[in-house]
C-alpha cells in the first residue's frame, strides 16, 4: 500500500520551499494591508519542517519493515 506520508511529505516540502523563496526573494509580497511580518517566510518554514518530518517518518517506517 502507498505510504501517504511520502507524497504529502514531498508536497509540503515543495510548498515550504516556494513560500520561503517568496519570503526571501520577493520583498513586494512580504506584507498585506493588515500584516507587517514576513508571513510567507514563517509559514513556509513551518511547512518545510512538517514536510521533512513526514518524509523522515516514512523513511523510518520503511526501514522497519525491510
Amino acid at each position: 500500500m502507498l505510504d501517504l506520508r511520502v507524497p504529502s511529505g514531498w508536497f509540503f516540502t515543495l510548498l515550504g520551499v516556494i513560500l520561503v523563496g517568496m519570503g526571501v526573494f520577493a520583498p513586494g509580497y512580504r506584507t498585506a494591508p493588515l500584516t507587517g511580518i514576513n508571513v510567507n517566510l514563517y509559514a513556509g518554514l513551518a511547512m518545510l519542517v512538517f514536510g521533512l518530518f513526514l518524509l523522515l517518518m516514512a523513511r523510518l517506517a520503511a526501514g522497519k519493515t525491510r
Partner: protein, 558 residues
Amino acid sequence: MKLAPVDYVILATYFAMVLGIGWMLRKKVSTSGDFLLSGRAVPVWITSLAFIAANLGAQELIGMAASGAKYGIMTAHFYWVGAIPAMVFMGLFMMPFYYGSKARSVPEYLKMRFDEKTRGFNAFTFAVMTIFSSGISMYALGLLLHLVLGWDFSTSVLATAVIVLAYTYLGGLTSAIYNEVLQFFLIVAGFAPLAILSCAKAGGWHGIVSRLPSNMTHSWSHMGSASQNPMGVELFGMVAGLGFVLSFGYWCTNFLVVQRAMAADSMSAARRTPLIGAIPKMFLPFVVILPGIAAVALAQVAGPGGAHLYELPLKLSGGVWVKDYDQVLTTLMAKFYPAGILGVGLTGLMASFMSGMAGNVTAFNTVFTYDIYQAYIRKGAPDQHYLKVGKMTTIVGVALSIGAAYLAGYYNNIMDILQFVFGFVNAPLFATFLLGMFWKKATANGAFSGLVTGTVAAALTWGLTVAEGKGGVFGHVHEFPSVMAQNFWIAIFAFTSCFLVTVLVSLVTARRQESELEGLVYGLTKIRRDENAKWYERPVVLAVFVLVLAVILNVWFA
C-alpha cells in the same frame, strides 16, 4: 482579491497532487470491496484524520467563520458539546457493532438488525441527502469564487467536480480517504496562519475579550435564558438538542463519516478512529471559528487613518444592506495574506470543498450499489458487475451533484429549506440505532414505525412553529427565539417520538430469535478486549483522555 502567478502555481501543484495520489492507488482496485470499502485495509491515523476531514467541507469552513462572527465563541459548542462526546460514544459503544457485524454500510446494518423496509427507508433518504448536500456546497463554493476572484461560476464548479471525479473514479474510497488527509493538512496550513495573524492584530484573546460584549467570548456564562445569548438558545435546548440528539445522530449514524471508520484495518483501529480523530477535532475551533470572532473585534479597532482596520462585509437583501457573514473568511484572507500564503489559503478552501464532495460521492456510491442496486435492482450478480456499477455510480453521483448545484442557483428558497431539513433528518435515526444496538427486544416493525413517526414529527414541528419569521407552513403554534433553537427542538421532538413509538410497537410485535441477533446487539455480542494492546492503544484510555481535554476546553472558555 487578486492572485499572483505563485498562487496559481500552488493551486496547480495541489491539483496535480490529488490526481497523482488517485493514479498511484488505481492498481489497488480489483473488487467492489476495494473500490467502495477500501478493502478494510487503511491505517488508523489515516482513517482518523479522514473521519474529521470528510465533515470539514467548504461550507463548514465558511460557515464556522461566519458563525464565529455572528455568535462568538458559543459556536464552539458544535465541537466541544456536540461532536466530541458523540465521537467518543461512537468509538466506545457503537463501532463494535458496525465493524463486528461486517455490514458494508449503515443501511445494511439496519437490514441485518431489523428488516428490508427499514434499510430501504434509510438508504433512500441518505442517497438523496448526499446528492443535495454535495450540490449545495458546490453552489456555495462556485458563488464564493465568483464573488471573490471573479472566476466563472460554471468553470470553477465543473473543473473542481471533474478533478474529484477523476481521483475517486481511479482509486475509489481509498483515494478519497488518502486525499482527505492531505486536504486536512492543507486546510490547517492554509488557515492556522490566518487565525494567528487576526487574533494577534486584535490584541490577542484578551484584546478580543476587552472589545466584544461578554456573551461573544463566553460559551456557557450566558446560557441561562435564550434572550441573553447571541444564538437565542436556552441551556436545555442546547445540551439535549445539539449535544445529544443532533450530534449523536450525525456522528454515530451518518454513513459519510461512519464509512471512514469502517475502512480501518482492524476492530481496534475502527474503534480508535473517532477517538483519535476527536483530538485534532477539538482544536479546530481555534483555526476555523477564531478568525470570525477576531474579525468582529478588528471591526472596532481604529486604524491610522481613523477608519476601522476591518469592516464586516455587507450584502443587499430585500433592498436593505445586511451583514454578509459568509464572506468574513475570504475578506480576512484578502486583508492578511500576501501572495504565496494567499495561494495556500485558497488551496485550503478548494481542498475543503473537495474533501466534502468526495465524502458525499463515495458514501453515495456505496449506499446506491449495495443498498439500492444490489438489494432491489439486481441481486446475486458476480462481484465484477457491482464494481462496474460502483464506478458508474461515481460518475452519476458527480453529475447529479452538479445538477443540484445549478438547481440551488435557480431556486434559492428551496435549497434553504432542504438544508434546514437535512439538519434534523438524522435525529430520529439515532433513537432507532440506540434501541437497536442496546435493547434486544426492539423489533423491525417497531423500528420502522418509530422512524416514520419521528420523521413526520420533525416535519410537523417545523411546519407548526415560527422562528425569525420563517417556517409555520401549516400553522402557528409556537414561536422560537431563533432558527437555531427551532432546529434543536425539532430534533428533540423527532428523537423522543421515534424512541417512544419504537418501544411501544416493539412490545406488541414479534421479536426475533436471540441467536439471530448475535454480533448486532449489546449483551448478545462478545466485545473483544484488547488485552495485548499497549495502554495508550486501548479505546477506554483514549476516551477518558479526550473527555478530560474537552471538559478543560469547556471550562476554560465558559
